[in-house]
């Protein structure tokens, strides 16, 4: 007599549902094979100690894993997230630049933002941070402090404006991918703040400097009509779309070639 092992037989054997099946019983001891395999390695229940250890590690991973999304800001749609992240970036950069704390990048930043009327320490051609006649550092410190204050006020205003835009967008259900910094702001949020609004110079067009003689060598006057979104305000930063779209949720494993 020839015993046949059909694919269905195999499936039943391996699933454990073949035990007691007369058909499988004719094939010897295979009917109870799955049960005996599971039993051969003893109780597979983790001990309480092991279970607690595993669960603690999982809880830790929950708190630190990259997929964990916590907090209202990060939970918002990508457009809003982009706007908030961009504002934080701009605010941080502005504050650092105003304080002269950007290190090697200070010259570059100071030069570029000088084109929109903000005068930061470290611009190219400056003999010293302190300016022309003032003792080394003193005028620069004063200027840096004033610039820092301006920058903080500007970034605060920008943050408020951005938060307003984000709220309006969320309220409108506008969660399409990407944030367009050039789009008209929604009603109720006012115009987009610009750095020149926070200057209290009489001649707002003139770059602030400790040098009473006026122009810093290499600087150019920038009128209020010019683009307020100079590099400091993140034309480069805000223009960078956060490429984050929907998360990929592909199923584990390769092609289904069954």
């Amino acid at each position: 007599m020839r015993d046949r092992l059909t694919p269905e037989d195999i499936d039943r054997i391996l699933s454990g549902s073949a035990e007691g099946d007369a058909r499988i019983g004719s094939l010897g001891s295979l009917g109870s094979f799955a049960r005996r395999v599971r039993g051969a390695w003893g109780a597979a229940e983790p001990s309480l100690e092991v279970r607690d250890r595993h669960l603690r590690a999982m809880v830790q991973a929950v708190g630190t894993g990259p997929s964990r999304v916590r907090g209202p800001i990060l939970a918002r749609p990508s457009r809003v997230r982009t706007a908030v992240a961009t504002t934080c970036f701009v605010a941080a950069g502005a504050a650092l630049a105003a304080a002269g704390s950007l290190g090697p990048a200070q010259h570059f930043v100071a030069d570029t933002v000088g084109q929109v009327g903000l005068d930061l320490p470290g611009r190219s051609g400056e003999p010293a941070a302190g300016g022309h006649d003032a003792p080394q550092g003193e005028a620069g410190k004063v200027r840096a402090a004033e610039n820092r204050q301006d920058a903080l006020e500007f970034t605060d205003a920008k943050k408020e404006w951005t938060a307003c835009v984000a709220e309006k967008a969320e309220a409108n259900g506008d969660d399409d991918d990407g944030f367009d910094p050039e789009a008209d702001p929604p009603e109720g949020c006012g115009p987009k703040p610009g750095p020149l609004q926070f200057r209290d110079d009489v001649t707002a067009n003139a770059p602030r400097t400790a040098n009473p003689a006026g122009k810093i060598p290499g600087a150019e006057d920038v009128g209020e009509d010019d683009d307020e979104d100079g590099p400091l305000t993140g034309q480069g930063a805000e223009g960078q779309q956060n490429g984050e779209g929907k998360r990929g949720r592909g199923r584990q494993g390769g092609d289904d070639d069954g």
Binding site: A57, M58, V59, A61
Partner: protein, 194 residues
């Protein structure tokens, strides 16, 4: 006998809660799968089955957002992860030989005070272990993934990066070898499979 405690109808809500970071949801998922995963890595000869099991669940936590599917798919996904983790662990240990695996596994199994132990008599258990260990590595993987993981042929094929046809052939040959050992039959002409 391993505990099969599928989450059932609540799976979707449990999964969503787990994604949100709810500890209770992770407890549920762990309880439903840990016994099977642990049994599988033990049967597969992992020197540190509990360590591998822990790594599997931590990876599960990190990658949970990548999963999409039902509970059966989730179980399959976890076992694919367990299989790969196990292979990595075995590969790593083969480069740095440590204490033999079997004695450690045996000592864990035979620890006193195992109240919920479901071990058959020691002789039969040892015989089953010998039979499984005598299979080829691929045959062993197929049988254990299908028994512990309850994977289908297709899911097993994906886990092992083989074709389903190859998996079917492996499981058939494995069961034939098992049957010969269990029944002590003459292999020549005793079994004809479809």
């Amino acid at each position: 006998m391993t505990s099969k405690a599928p989450v059932g109808e609540q799976f979707v809500s449990v999964l969503d809660a787990a994604r949100s970071g709810a500890d209770w949801a992770w407890h549920v998922l762990y309880e439903s799968l840990a016994p099977s995963v642990l049994g599988y890595v033990r049967a597969r000869g992992a020197p540190d089955p509990e360590g591998v099991c822990g790594e599997v669940f931590c990876q599960l936590v990190r990658d949970i957002d990548r999963f999409e599917g039902d509970e059966a798919g989730f179980r399959s996904w976890v076992f694919v992860m367990a299989h790969h983790r196990l292979l990595d662990d075995l590969r790593r240990r083969s480069r740095r030989p440590e204490a033999p695996a079997d004695p450690e596994v045996m000592s864990e199994l035979e620890a006193p005070g195992s109240v919920e132990s479901d071990v058959v008599d020691s002789y039969e258990a040892a015989e089953i272990r010998r039979i499984i260990d005598d299979l080829t590595s691929a045959q062993r993987d197929v049988l254990l993934l299908r028994i512990y993981g309850e994977l289908t042929v297709e899911e097993t094929a994906r886990a092992m990066r083989r074709r389903p046809g190859a998996v079917k052939a492996l499981q058939r040959r494995a069961l034939e070898a098992v049957r010969r050992r269990l029944d002590r039959r003459n292999p020549a002409g005793d079994l004809v499979s479809n």
